[in-house]
């Protein structure tokens, strides 16, 4: 329909849309195309350059053609990069693209560019050429610089937050567990996220009458607000224990404190097991009071394991007169008591065998934990905590909440481990029900 301006159209190529516009002849397009164009011999010497690039760089054609190499138009960093990486790459694969470089203009200023280059093989006496297209990228580079700066800042910020979270977390846990004669203690804290403080806590400390108070709990939520409540809970439990270590009364006191705090828009509560340990002749007696917390596990010297339920214990800090329940148990040599937070039992088990998923809706669950503990029995506090630590590692990403583990055990007497169900355990073997506190 329209007459062609190009006297030698490509026979097989698609027809250019503007093929009929006499003003857009190829030579004009080359000289004034929106991007810079330049061709070099394989040794880098410039043989052709378009007006656009000359204009950008402020050179006259005769200053470049036959006199300069492409890499000499680059910043020093760019030149080294070109010679060591890009030129070999171009030689080997014939083309490169999307390369960010800086060109040096005649007046010494820098021009950020994106470069694509392709080799035209020499044939029929024509030398091989490297064709380079140069795209001005000033705005883009400024944008990238801004992005990079923002990313570096975000990295620094994140590092700072992690540092803060770690410090805060450490302040909520005892730096070391005390020594209690005749008792072995071990604890483990599994951090699910380096960025956030979890709400789990535990402690163990002396109270009156040669006895020891201890607790392990979990404040709802995460982050700084949860940490503040965790700190409050910790100190309330310790302070209350100092005047009266009875676990039920300690929990009632904490409930009053937290409930008074809970008037804002962000109510916080916690679950706790609070205990009182009384060392005895052969072992120790432990009274536990539970407030909405997963039951403690008793792993016995006779190779059995069972939960110590405190039925009816309510969440701490929600109701003004919450009810709590207590239970008392005797730990004989070889027995181990294990307290944990629900980060463990609530861990997702998508990668584990299907059994747990069916039983507990894709969570690890209390049944699986009981099986696990039975597999450990008999054990020691240190071994039990190490095993749970390994279990948490194994659950990997499935553990999406922090998990605290505290174990108290009476070291097995020399004869006891060899005789399951023997003199080491006063309670009947397999009898999981401990006697209730009055």
């Amino acid at each position: 329909m329209t007459s062609r301006a190009d006297p030698k159209p490509e026979p097989d190529g698609p027809e250019p849309e503007d093929g009929g516009n006499p003003e857009d002849d190829p030579e004009e397009l080359y000289e004034n195309s929106p991007c810079g164009q330049l061709s070099t011999l394989s040794d880098g010497r410039i043989v052709k350059v378009n007006a656009t690039l000359l204009d950008w760089l402020g050179y006259r054609r005769e200053e470049l053609v036959g006199r300069r190499t492409f890499s000499r138009l680059l910043s020093v960093g760019g030149r080294i990069y070109y010679e060591t990486h890009l030129a070999p790459l171009l030689g080997m694969q014939g083309r490169i693209g999307g390369i960010a470089l800086e060109m040096k203009a005649a007046d010494g200023s820098r021009l950020p560019v994106l470069v694509a280059a392709a080799v035209r093989e020499g044939s029929g006496g024509r030398p091989a050429l490297v064709r380079v297209s140069v795209f001005e990228a000033r705005d883009r580079r400024a944008y990238e610089t801004e992005l990079l700066r923002a990313r570096q800042e975000a990295d620094r910020e994140r590092e700072r937050v992690q540092q803060l979270a770690t410090t805060l977390q450490r302040s909520l846990l005892p730096p070391a567990l005390p020594d209690i004669p005749g008792t072995e203690l071990a604890a483990h804290y599994h951090t699910a996220s380096a960025d956030e403080v979890g709400g789990d806590f535990y402690d163990l400390f002396p109270v009156s009458g040669g006895r020891w108070g201890f607790f392990l709990g979990d404040v709802s939520g995460k982050g700084a607000a949860a940490a503040a409540v965790t700190s409050l809970a910790r100190y309330s439990l310790r302070a209350a224990s100092a005047s009266d270590p009875d676990p039920l009364r300690v929990l009632a006191n904490l409930n009053t404190v937290l409930e008074h705090e809970n008037h804002g828009e962000d109510p916080r509560f916690c679950t706790v097991i609070h205990g009182l340990l009384t060392p005895g002749e052969h072992g120790c007696e432990i009274t536990l009071a539970g407030g909405g917390h997963p039951p403690a596990l008793l792993v016995r010297a006779d190779g059995t394991a069972g939960y110590l339920h405190t039925p009816g214990g309510q969440l701490v800090g929600v109701l003004p007169n919450a009810r709590f329940a207590a239970t008392t148990v005797r730990l004989a040599p070889g027995d181990t008591l294990l307290l944990y937070t629900d980060g463990l039992t609530e861990a997702r088990t998508v990668h584990a065998d299907g059994r747990h998923q069916e039983r507990d809706g894709g969570r690890y669950g209390e049944d699986a934990l009981l099986d696990f503990a039975t597999g450990l029995a008999p054990t020691s506090a240190a071994d039990a905590v190490a095993a749970v630590g390994a279990l948490l590692e194994g659950l990997g990403e499935g553990v999406d909440d922090d998990t605290a583990v505290l174990a108290l055990g009476v070291p097995a007497s020399r004869k006891a481990p060899e005789a399951p169900g023997g003199q080491g355990t006063p309670e009947a073997p397999g009898g999981p029900e401990p006697f209730r506190s009055p």
């Binding site: 190499t69 890499s71 080294i80 030129a87 790459l89």
Partner: protein, 266 residues
């Protein structure tokens, strides 16, 4: 540790031929030798490898401390020689690998028969009467450019940027198949390469040495080739009529011939 896997070692050529070990420099990998290796393979047993952090080396073997000095790379060269039980090695080091070869020879001279230093530079920075070709500010600019990722590492960074570890082929398509390098490792290698000063080490080289320079090298000026030859007693200098810093690509024939004639003359 499997040294062959770590350094992606490949062996070609005549099994009973003298051993020629080809070491690539900063910015590339063993592919750089692909126009030279076939010519050498007719006569020699050719050993190629990628430095850790380059090409198809094992990325898990990289550690910043070891590869922050050329000694770490020289150690790798010696470990490859031991693992393959290579003796009377003709070591050909391009660019920074020339100095890596010098360090390896200083440690275990008995392992090496000859040394070929291809476009070497014992120090890139001008100092006093010595002309390395760059000012300290130039090199700082290079390192800063690498640091800020403005030199086009985006192409090799593609898999990282795309964040699609479960679909690595997406990154693969965007990534150059040659001379691949992790930008973090490249930054360390660049720092090691361009800030090292091995001028003092040259005098200790005791094996016969050939220095090969390009007449129009954009990175190492002619003075550097002469300096290296003068420092290594008994060494000879060959100047190729070649452009750029990689004569293996721009003048593969003469480069292979220079290596072969020196390697066979013993």
């Amino acid at each position: 540790m499997d040294v062959r896997r770590r350094n992606n070692v490949t062996v070609t050529g005549r099994e009973d031929g003298p051993v020629v070990m080809l070491a690539h420099g900063f910015g590339c990998d063993q592919n750089l030798w692909r126009l030279v290796a076939p010519a050498l393979a007719e006569e020699f047993r050719v050993v190629l490898f990628d430095h850790v952090g380059s090409g198809r080396s094992d990325p898990s073997a990289w550690n910043e401390e070891r590869y922050s000095s050329l000694e770490g790379y020289a150690q790798d060269v010696l470990e490859i020689c031991r693992a393959l039980d290579l003796r009377d090695v003709v070591f050909v080091g391009h660019s920074v690998s020339a100095m890596i070869g010098v360090l390896a020879v200083l440690r275990e001279p008995e392992r090496f028969a000859r040394l070929v230093l291809l476009t070497p530079s014992p120090s890139y920075i001008d100092e006093g009467d010595y002309r390395g070709g760059f000012s300290r500010a130039d090199i700082e600019e290079l390192l800063e450019s690498l640091e800020s990722n403005y030199l086009g590492w985006s192409a090799v960074m593609a898999p990282v940027i795309m964040g699609n570890p479960e679909r690595p082929e997406l990154g693969e398509e965007l990534t150059n198949s040659f001379c691949r390098t992790d930008p973090r490792m490249a930054r360390v290698f660049a720092r090691t390469t361009f800030l090292s000063d091995n001028r003092e080490d040259l005098a200790g080289v005791t094996v016969p040495t050939l220095v090969v320079e390009c007449a129009h090298d954009t990175l190492a000026p002619r003075e550097v080739g002469a300096f290296v030859m003068n420092e290594i007693a008994g060494s000879t200098l060959v100047t190729l009529d070649a452009h750029g810093h990689c004569p293996q690509l721009s003048s593969p024939g003469p480069t292979a011939e220079a290596i072969a004639s020196f390697a066979r003359a013993r």
